[in-house]
């Protein structure tokens, strides 16, 4: 095979593997943001975090939220809930960053998926 073509295909294979591993990490990050509270499934977002922080700043102690299935539920202890979801966001994003750093260090398809 022409060496120029061989090198390009090698890089192409690396990029495909790289993109797939990035996709997996992003998907896992999204899954790690899912939180269950009293049978309600919610996805922790920066918007939700800011909303809860705003209510706390206004001395609110409880709130009604809408879960991922559009069902309303009551959060009786807003302070505790906000701490919980902040913990979830922090864990998920740190894990994402940690794994992402490992990916960008590797410059070969083999290195990206080695156990």
């Amino acid at each position: 095979m022409d060496e120029r073509l061989e090198k390009a295909l090698e890089f192409s294979n690396f990029m495909e593997t790289h993109n797939n591993q990035r996709r997996i990490l992003l998907q896992q990050f999204k899954e790690n943001l899912v939180h269950y509270i009293d049978g309600n499934k919610i996805t922790v977002t920066r918007e939700l975090l800011s909303f809860c922080q705003s209510l706390l700043a206004l001395d609110q102690t409880h709130v009604i939220l809408i879960d991922d299935s559009n069902t309303p539920f009551e959060v009786a202890d807003l302070n505790q809930f906000t701490r919980e979801i902040l913990g979830i966001y922090t864990f998920a994003s740190r894990k994402y960053m940690y794994e992402y750093k490992k990916i960008i260090k590797n410059r070969s398809a083999e290195g990206l998926t080695k156990l």
């Binding site: 294979n13 797939n20 997996i24 896992q28 049978g39 299935s69 794994e99 083999e110 998926t113 156990l115």
Partner: protein
Amino acid sequence: MSKGVVLFAFNNDYIDYIKQAVYCAKRVKKYLGLPVQVITDDKNYLEKQFPFYKKYIDTVTYSPSPLSSIKIFNNGLNESQRDVEWKNSARDSAYDLSIFDKTIVLDTDLIVSNDKLLKCFDTDEDFMIAKEYDLIHYEKRFKDLDRISNKSIHMYWATIIYFKKSNLAKIVFDLVQHIKENYNFYRLSYEIIEKKFRNDFAFSIAIHMMRGFTQNTNWPITLPTDMWVSLDKDILVDIKKDSIQLLAHRKNDYISVKLNDANTHVMNKFSLDQFIDKEFANE
């Protein structure tokens, strides 16, 4: 309330589901720390071939082998393809046979690699089943993994089921049993082309019926876990702790994939079998 995991294992001439069950139980112990009940028709084989099984399996329950059907299993892209006798129709008996109040039923080819399934026990739900999944390679999307047929309803995966002993869960399992007994009628009603009985289809139909014959209701809620799917044309290369390396098939070749902390459904039973042999060499 007692909690545990139930695994069904009925061997055929080519695939050793009992071996898979022992390996699955080993990972359940490690990541979920739950007792495991295996339901099988061949306890003698389990005891003879895997004398160490009691380290991982707490209870073995006899159940006669269910009726079999023929299914094609691939072993990667270029390896052999086999028509195999498939005995997978006993899942509807999980409700009656489970010794636990709260049960997670798993396929034996699910590689448990995190503790997310424990969140099931924190919910008030009576019944949950897997619906969302991720394929290990993004290029692929298979309509038949999303719906039970092109023009029909959403597919739910009997690969992971959670239930609490309750009236509602009993109704689901009884309905699945009824669908199984009248499968041809339901198969035609739901425009399923495939003739063989599949648990996934029966549960999907049961859920659709119990939702009031609609697709968009809040019941059953999504299982609080991930499920990554590797198809039978993919190859399992290795597993080290919570990391899995696979080769995902493309058109004519493979791409290497690594998953960390991911519950992974490995459909290539032959490569899973080879890996477990290696793993059990030191037991």
